[in-house]
Amino acid sequence: MARKVVITGLGATTPIGGDVPTMWKNALKGVSGAHTLTADWVEKYDLPVHFAAKVTTPATDVLSRVEAKRMDPSTQFAVVAAREAWNDSGIEEVDHDRLAVAFATGIGGVWTLLDAWDTLREKGPRRVLPMTVPMLMPNGPAAAVSLDLGARAGAHTPVSACASGTEALHIGLELIRSGKADVVVAGGAEAAIHPLPMASFSAMQALSKRNDSPETASRPYDVNRDGFVMGEGAGALVLEAEEHALARGARIYGELAGTSVTADAYHITAPDPQGLGATRALKAALFDARALPDDVCHVNAHATSTPVGDRPEYTALKAALGDHVDNVCVSATKSQTGHLLGASGAVESVMTVLAVYHRLAPVTINLENQDPEIPLDVVTGTPRELPEGEIVALNNSFGFGGHNAVVAIRSTGPKVEMA
């Protein structure tokens, strides 16, 4: 019998709140984190997209100036979220040799890399800071969290584009099940609201161009969706072997019951139109969780608001859940947060955990005319009550490269009212 893994701590810094309580309150209310960018580089480079969803709270509210100086913004966000999750878990004593980190990023230290490139060209090699490489490396967030918490059972960095954050939970679950760790801090971080990725995503027509109305630009499932909105931030979860959590009388949010990762092997950026890779991931996550389609009551969808992306996810959900898909309520929280790329799976997993814990599914905003080819039961307007008893919720994440990652969260209840 595999070890059961439970979730005992949550952390986040996002465009709709700098900590989990604020983010969750806003996610239930339905607010947009997208706004017009005020940075001078938008005009300087004549970018076609003028808005994004930036974090609401500067990392330096939590980190000291000196700490922040040695970290790329993506690593700063990771440490902010990980500290919140760790404090939330209430863990006071831990065997540090049995504590691991799995912290993902999609893009890595793009600000550090390109700032250093500017310095090299303008001022020469002597002015390139010695910390440049450790700051830009994609394992920077995992390494910083490991250093911060004294996690010595490995610091892992899944990099699978927009599936990265969810894949981190997959790695965390495996680390605990296989006995290599008792506690894992898993999450994802991204800080890529930078002119280069913005220009690149624009060039591939992936970003919404709704410059005159940033707040309504991210509109998953709407017939008038025209692309995703760049977001940034981090999410973190403390995963713990159940016996470890019970021994210390921990508050348990839910069980990380199953995870899966598959690859489309279809196209470098386009999703398989039949959603075959995503279907296999959904079925595998349910099997891993020893759950049946009928157990699922809620899905936090990947739903980025691109014309081509939202539909195959529906096809996959229908294939994996069968007719039961009609009984499942779906939240597309990127409508509020924008797309946090490698952090999105982590932040959305935090929301999925809160949904089963409080028995409330967060809302999807900006859905005015639902795409008739995606007849999902989408939560709009007000949060949806989830049923009593034992329930399972899924979080899907898909990434460029054909990466599919799914996590299944189980709660046996009872419903916990919000503080």
Partner: protein, 81 residues
Amino acid sequence: MASKEEILAGLAEIVNEETGLAPEAVEMDKSFTDDLDIDSISMMTIVVNAEEKFDVKIPDEEVKNLKTVGDAVSFIEGAQA
């Protein structure tokens, strides 16, 4: 040309910016590693910033001889000439 006092004050500012140490803690007789707990990476950043601030060159092979704040102040003072 900056005086010894001006160089000390400027270095203290650079050290504060890099490490967060109070500028008053940066005194002539303090060792960068033993007293101020400055690691090699911070030291290189401080050196590069000092080069820019005082318009001097501090060769890499010279950095290992700059054990105390006073050593750095004297070197920068001499290098200005």
